[in-house]
């Protein structure tokens, strides 16, 4: 699963990962590989990306998460 996390002026993360956990508007959600296509607004919280080797944590003030064709795009 390919994940991209971007802010307007910088790219925070882009690469392969196992899962991503994000604070969705209706509660926290975790996306695994081959998730169905989805668009969700995000609220304030913490985004955790787990790659095969390690985990990475990003702060989130709000944004949009999109899943399609096994690609996850997070716009903060």
């Amino acid at each position: 699963m390919y994940i991209t996390i971007a802010r307007v002026h910088e790219n925070l993360f882009s690469g392969q990962a196992v899962s991503i956990t994000a604070p969705g508007a209706d509660g926290e959600l975790t996306i695994l590989s081959t998730h169905e296509p989805l668009v969700v607004p995000l609220t304030k919280g913490i985004i955790t990306v787990r790659t095969a080797e390690h985990g990475e944590v990003y702060e989130c003030e709000g944004g949009v998460l999109e899943v399609s064709n096994n690609q996850v795009t997070v716009l903060l």
Binding site: H9, A25, E36, P41, V64, E66, T73, L75
Partner: protein, 305 residues
């Protein structure tokens, strides 16, 4: 002109050339950096656009406050110029275009809220009695994310609250090192076509940075909790992308315009210094000839005695 005057003049022209030459080099470096930065905002813009396109092929079906046009009683205008001059017609072109936009809006001065980036625009509109809602210095080469956030949040909030009915921007579009043009766009009410144009502008048609990676839209899409809520989060972000891009373009244009202007100045001063040297040599020759003929005349006069 005496010999010494010419010499002083040549020296001063040479000194000017040193300065313009240095400014040219500095601008060339800054221009390259600005172009690089313009590319860094690209993935975000493209991702935002594709989400929006997949949500709805046309925004017509989506009734969101930010996409709804209404009669314009009060408008916001964002103008981007540079802080410093010495960059050719760059700022004059932007200010002229702003005047044109203001004229087409057909509103009174007090019904236009101006957001200005750069001291040149602030001075220009300040002198003409406009309300400057906020002004930012445009001096650093980096676009400050906090200024960007602030202005974007402010225009979106004012638009939603109905305080302003349209938001226009005037900035300089970077076409190439030798070609920049002052452009105006409508940011709000938001339209998909407008945004598509801008993203197309970010991605070059060909060359090292050109790429097209279409991600086919899935047949179904789960949208949680609702389309309007997703749009509510997405559209203000797109506005920010829009403004960010506009600032970067203006930066790149400013530096390349300055580079070209300084190159012209350096060339001109080289020509001038050459012409002056010629005048200097001619004058010196004349002086020598006169002195020699005076001496010869003197000797002859003495020999005659």
């Amino acid at each position: 002109m005496s010999l010494r005057d010419i010499k002083t003049k040549i020296r001063s022209v040479d000194r000017t050339r040193k300065v313009t030459k240095a400014m040219e080099t500095v601008s060339a470096v800054k221009m390259r950096k600005a172009q690089q930065r313009a590319l860094s905002g690209r993935p975000y813009a493209r991702a935002a656009l594709s989400i929006l396109e997949r949500l709805s092929p046309s925004l017509v079906t989506l009734a969101h406050p930010l996409t709804t046009a209404r009669p314009v009683r009060r408008a916001g205008l964002i103008v981007v110029t540079s802080d410093k001059g010495l960059c050719g017609v760059l700022n004059a072109a932007v200010l002229k275009e702003s005047e044109r936009v203001i004229a087409t809006l057909g509103l009174e001065l007090k019904n236009i809220d101006l957001y200005v980036f750069g001291r040149k625009a602030a001075e220009y509109f300040g002198r003409r009695g406009y309300t400057l809602k906020s002004k930012f210095e445009n001096i650093s080469d980096d676009v400050s994310p906090s200024d960007l956030e602030r202005i974007s949040r402010d225009v979106v909030r004012s638009f939603e609250a109905g305080e302003i009915d349209a938001v226009r921007v005037v900035y300089t579009n970077f076409k190439s090192t030798f070609e920049q043009e002052a452009l105006s766009h409508t940011v709000l009410p938001f339209s998909l076509e407008q945004f598509r144009d801008i993203v197309a502008g970010i991605v070059p048609q060909k060359g090292a940075y050109a790429e097209a990676r279409p991600n086919p839209a899935p047949r179904f899409y789960t949208v949680e909790p609702s389309e309007s809520e997703v749009l509510g989060t997405l559209l203000p972000r797109l506005t920010t992308v829009f403004l960010y891009h506009m600032l970067l373009e203006s930066k790149a244009s400013e530096h390349s315009a300055r580079m070209v202007a300084m190159k012209n100045a350096s060339d001109k001063s080289r020509d001038l210094s050459k012409a002056l040297t010629r005048v200097f040599n001619k004058t010196r020759q004349a002086v020598i000839t006169r002195e020699v003929s005076e001496i010869v005349g003197g000797i002859e006069a003495m020999a005659g005695n």
